[in-house]
């Protein structure tokens, strides 16, 4: 089970390039925009009396990133610090580092995102397979229209509609936050229930939003596969219907669903981050918006870099697994 060398090289080049280009752009954008973001913010904050040790912060920054040096030297020290995992200090929460703030928010995002992406992929794929297998019928058409609606309507609009329905009109679920304000996080059943209750609406938003596409693409794949000779053969052999669907049709149709996951990952992550913001969920998305409102550039840069690297790595991993399950790529075809 070897991954073909050409494929591997190409994917690796794209992976490394993505990360490198991202770091470069993140490094360049603040330096190309006129003005001195760091200075402006620090000055504003110390005038308001909200920042202790502004001078110290600026000095620390200049030392760490060599801001007195030329652009190229700065660039290399930036890459060096990033590779060391040093994303610098948050301006607003100084002396807390950006990495610490990210580490606090990360479990929320990973918990929400991983669960919902997996769930929606599985549910959508299974329902789509059943729908495609069942063929044209009224119920199937209703499902397909609903899936189309979910696919066309973006995350945040779905979020707004869910909040209106379940938090405002019915008052069944809380509209925002990760847990009830005032509660102290602890390992008790009550607190766990509280977290689950707060997670239901954001999770449903993400699941429903991406469900539509998985449903539609799996349905059309199964419909196409239904006409293939090997299915006819299986039927002629007298295999049970269920076995033909799951062992023959499903296994073939699932491959594009996996590539689809790789392609859509960045869209899903972006959608999930906006969803977090709408629900004030304490994850990376909310951390980023908060950094935007307070002009905390190191924090903005840090969260964005983290998201980009995470998405690129996940993409790369899916692409490496792919040839192992699809022999058509393994043997050189594309």
């Amino acid at each position: 089970m070897a991954i073909p060398a050409r494929y591997l090289t190409e994917r690796s080049v794209i992976f490394v390039m993505t990360i490198l280009v991202s770091i470069t752009v993140i490094f360049l954008i603040p330096r190309l925009t006129p003005g001195d973001p760091l200075g402006v913010v620090v000055q504003r904050l110390s005038e308001a009396g909200g920042l202790q040790g502004a001078e110290q912060l600026v000095e620390e920054y200049k030392r760490l990133f060599g801001l007195n040096n030329d652009l190229l030297t700065q660039y290399f020290s930036y890459i060096r610090e990033v590779l060391r995992g040093n994303l610098g200090y948050s301006i607003v929460y100084f002396p807390t580092t950006v990495s610490d703030l990210i580490l606090q928010a990360l479990p929320w995002t990973i918990g929400l995102l991983a669960t919902t992406t997996a769930l929606s992929w599985i549910i959508g794929t299974l329902l789509g397979a059943l729908a495609g297998w069942a063929g044209e019928s009224r119920i199937q058409n209703i499902f397909a229209s609903a899936a189309l609606f979910l696919y066309v309507v973006p995350y945040y609009i779905l979020a707004v509609m869910l909040v209106f329905l379940f938090a405002y009109t019915l008052r069944w679920l809380p509209a925002s936050g990760g847990y009830t304000a005032g509660l102290v996080p602890e390992f008790t059943l009550d607190f766990a229930m509280d977290i689950v209750q707060h997670a239901i609406l954001p999770a449903s938003t993400i699941i429903l939003s991406s469900l539509g596409w998985w449903f539609l693409s799996m349905r059309s794949m199964i419909t196409t596969t239904k006409g293939e000779d090997f299915l006819l053969m299986a039927e002629a052999k007298g295999l049970p219907k269920g076995q033909i669907l799951w062992r023959y049709a499903f296994r073939n149709a699932i491959l594009p669903q996996i590539t689809g996951l790789a392609i859509s990952l960045s869209r899903i992550v972006a959608g999930a981050l906006i969803t977090e913001v709408i629900f004030a969920y304490p994850g990376i998305g909310s951390l980023t918006t908060q950094a935007i409102t307070t002009l905390d550039y190191p924090l903005i840069q840090g969260t964005i870099l983290l998201i980009i690297i995470a998405v690129a790595t996940a993409n790369f991993a899916i692409e490496l697994i792919y040839p192992l399950i699809d022999p058509r790529i393994r043997y050189g075809g594309e």
């Binding site: 190409e10 752009v25 954008i29 925009t33 209106f164 550039y297 903005i300 980009i308």
Partner: protein, 294 residues
């Protein structure tokens, strides 16, 4: 060649092929009809409604829909319908600029990459793939956060930075398959230069692909704009559909029961997504006859 330079006979012929092709497709026809409504209603609205309605404190705040304010007013006393007209036009403008720039650049990159092949292709393809796998929203957040005063036009151009990669990949694949066709060899033999060949021989065959890509880019530009705006990064002075929603959400319109305020932009956004989606699906069916009758 623009539509206006075409001689009348040619125009008539184009109309016939248009009404038999795209217009004959139900999805496209419905989508287009919705789009016409989406463009003309706010155009007429902006021309006929008084600009004073947009001023803060012009009317009483938080009025529910009535005859004088068909969609009510917001907490600052601005008329929602009047806002909606301007916001829709601005969102459409962002879609138009970003999609035009993105499709044009994407088509150029795709053609050059597919047609010339070799090292140029390798470089452009890696670049395209890199742009495709970057979560573009993240960069857009960074850019908009730094360019503090965003106008509708800068917003559109910023979105266009990431709008070219998808068309580029699609058009490259098409150029690859087209360049081996016989008419291309004929053109080469008759001494046509590469650039002329791309423009005069390949482009016409790619036109429907480019239109489909354009519609798709239009949709994602509006989607991206509203996404950025909801994060508070939209144009500050002008109103867009995303910014309307942001104002409404940030003023807790939902929990004050001001459904007309957040409902209006939500409705128009959904309407425009469906309009563009149907047009794109219709064009897709025309390009890939296999999809027809699904």
């Amino acid at each position: 060649m623009t539509l206006y330079n075409a001689p009348p006979r040619r125009l008539a012929a184009m109309w016939v092929s248009f009404s038999k092709g795209p217009l004959g497709n139900r999805n496209f026809a419905v989508g287009l009809a919705m789009f016409v409504v989406l463009v003309t209603t706010p155009l007429i609205g902006v021309l006929t409604s008084s600009p004073a309605l947009l001023r803060v404190g012009n009317s009483l705040p938080a009025l529910p829909p009535s005859t004088s304010h068909p969609l009510g007013t917001d907490v600052l006393g601005r008329d929602i319908l009047a806002q909606l007209f301007g916001a829709t036009l601005n969102s459409l403008k962002i879609g138009l600029i970003a999609a035009t720039a993105g499709t044009a650049v994407g088509a150029l990159v795709g053609f050059v990459s597919g047609y010339y092949g070799g090292i140029i292709d390798d470089i452009l393809r890696v670049l395209t793939d890199v742009f495709l796998s970057i979560p573009s929203l993240m960069f857009l957040i960074l850019i908009s956060a730094l360019v503090r005063t965003v106008t509708v036009e800068t917003m559109a151009l910023v979105i266009a930075i990431f709008a070219w990669a998808w068309p580029a990949r699609q058009i490259r694949a098409q150029a690859l398959s087209l360049k081996e066709r016989e008419f291309v060899y004929m053109a080469k033999l008759s001494g046509m230069g590469s650039l002329e060949l791309i423009v005069r021989e390949l482009m016409p065959h790619m036109l429907q692909w480019m239109i489909a890509n354009f519609v798709n880019a239009f949709l994602s530009a509006i989607l991206t704009e509203s996404g950025l705006s909801i994060l508070g990064l939209g144009p500050q002075v002008e109103m867009t559909l995303g910014m309307m929603l942001w104002w409404a959400l940030n003023s807790a319109a939902m929990f004050r029961g001001l459904w007309w305020w957040w409902g209006a932009p939500v409705f128009v956004l959904i309407f425009s997504f469906f309009s563009l989606y149907l047009m794109h699906a219709g064009l897709d069916e025309l390009i890939n006859p296999k999809l027809r009758g699904r």
